[in-house]
């Protein structure tokens, strides 16, 4: 199974996430699209780890394959932390401007 299919899939998911972030105005959906993008990255990381596991050079380095997977583990850690803080912010935002529409957050205007 060649790696390019997985890369294709991961890129497709990533771009869907990007499109989501760009087109939607509801901050929660945007936040979810970001999670989606993160997952695409995780998928690709695991795919690469398996690719390295398959390739001969990997045998030399003891745990090159599983490094990537640990990396994914840590990404999940960060994602969890990020979501908790992010959702807190969204709640606080909702409390202030009674809507989750990001366009109302334009107090940084020029």
């Amino acid at each position: 199974m060649e790696i390019k299919w997985y890369i294709g899939l991961a890129v497709a998911l990533f771009c869907t996430g990007v499109v989501g972030v760009l087109t939607r105005r509801n901050s929660i959906i945007i936040f979810m699209c970001i999670e989606l993008m993160l997952n695409a990255v995780n998928l690709l990381l695991v795919a690469f780890s398996k690719m390295h596991a398959a390739s001969p050079v990997a045998q030399a380095l003891p745990n090159v394959a599983s490094d990537a997977q640990l990396f994914v583990f840590f990404i999940m850690v960060v994602a969890a932390a990020e979501v908790s803080v992010g959702l807190a912010i969204i709640v606080m935002m909702y409390r202030n401007i009674h809507s989750v529409d990001i366009n109302f957050l334009n107090r940084l205007k020029n």
């Binding site: 990007v18 972030v21 760009l22 105005r25 990001i102 366009n103 957050l105 334009n106 107090r107 940084l108 205007k109 020029n110």
Partner: protein, 633 residues
Amino acid sequence: MSNVLQLVWLIPALPLIGFLLNGLGRKMLSKTMAGIVGSGTVLLAFLVSLYVFFQVKGGNSHVAHYFNFINIEGLKIGFDFQVDPLSSIFLLIITGVGFLIHVYSTSYMHEEDPKDFAKYFAHLNLFVFSMLLLVMGANYVIMFIGWEGVGLCSYLLIGYWFKNTNYNNAAKKAFIMNRIGDLGFLLAVFWLISKTGSADYHEVFANLSKLTTRDITGITLLLFVGATGKSAQIPLYTWLPDAMAGPTPVSALIHAATMVTAGIYMIARSNVLYTMAPATQTVVAVVGLATAILAATIALKQNDIKKVLAYSTVSQLGYMFLGLGVGAFTGAVFHVMTHAFFKALLFLGGGSVIHAMGGEQDIRNMGGLKKHMRITHITFLLACFAIAGMPPFSGFFSKDEILAAAYEKNPVLWGIGVAGAMMTAFYMFRLYAMTFLGNFRGTHEQEHHLHESPAAMTLPLIVLAILSVIGGFIGVPEVFMHGGHRLEEFLAPVFAQSNALIKEHHALSHSQEYMLMGISVAAALAALAFAWNKFSKYRKSDKEEAGLGKVLENKWYVDELYDSIIVKPVLAIGKYFNNVVEKRGIDGFVNGVGRAVNYGSRQIRLLQSGQVGAYVLMMVLGILVFFIVQLFL
């Protein structure tokens, strides 16, 4: 003997000390004190130069070196003085005539307040100092320092009454024209240095082989440009008549005796170069003669005493350049000396007339002053005879020597020269007759006020009159008395090198000389008599001058010509640059940059729309571009 020459530095130092005393102490010194300091220093300088004259009489010259003015690798210019027969003659003229004029101006400037009085004398002393520097310099650079100093002092002195804007403009005009001339002089010096590696007279004249003929003609032409600027020849002479705005003693000293002769001294000093460049010599002769005739024609119709004398100076200088042009260096120097005497006398005489008439300068409102001003009248008359070239007077000997040399060169030059001499005699005696003969045409109050000038003014007049009369006998031509021309013997060593170069030297036969002298004297006498009786009966008439007379009165419209050709275009260009290039170009550019940044930032500000979505979109586009550049380009 050499130890005396060690004192040479004293000559310029004394007027400098005078300048410093008067200049710095002008508030403390009383008027008499300032006068004494001013005249005293020049008198001492005269005595020392007299002493030096007798040392140098034997023909030996001496170069005294004091310090290195410029001493860089490849160029060494020392601050050193050279004393030889030529420079000692000029020393005598400058300090002698200078002293007389100083004494004269102590009384002429009497009613000025003390501060200005001391300032006036300080400037006069500075002028004498720089003139001495010019004359005694042993190389072109020191001469150039003097050259510039003299220009500066003429500016200061012309613009003495600086409150009057016309006098200021005259001073500026004089200074600017001199500067134009100086530029030519400077270029010549640079050319010389670049070719021969040094500016000392000895060194330059020693290794002339380094210079090609093209170099020499170029250098001499440029030097001549400097001379025309300083000695008011054809292209750059219009400043001299306007320089009459200064006090009369100033005109006497600067614009008659000393400064204007600087050009002649410079050419006389570099006579070797000129003899090796025949083309330049013809140019010099032609320009000199043309100036002489032009100035003489203008002087015919001038009604202001000082204007007439100014144009006569220009004319006489034309004759001197004619002399130099035809190779009669000693003749030119001789004419310089005699001209210094009688022209200074004429100016000082005119000054005392103006003094008496209470500032009136227009001769049409004068007349019949003979009865009131005895001494001025007699001295003025003697000077007129001298300048007209009547035999016993000095003018005759020097002018005829030049005319004789001109005849040797080319009879046509002689013919025009004689015509010039006729006109000189005519306008001088027109001036004399209108001021001193006939009946008084001024106002009663002026008539009542008429009186002879005080002793301080009349004494210099008398001394100068004596010099004008006997001045000619030091250069009696061969034809009258064998060995009579002592001045030629005296200056022989200076011009020895160039005389050797002149191959053909066909002297005139005695009969030819007599004939020449006869014709010129007769012509002058006729013009003199005609002017005498025509203008002694002069009646003031207010009809307008017509035809050629009007043209002459307006000085051939030369000033207007210069204005239209040079001044207006330059001003126009200046204005153009100011408005178009400066305002629209540079300012426009600078403001344009400012406005562009302003406009640009306003547009970019719109980018900060506050829409988070827009920011993210831009970010993604950025990443996109980055990928494309990175991966595909």
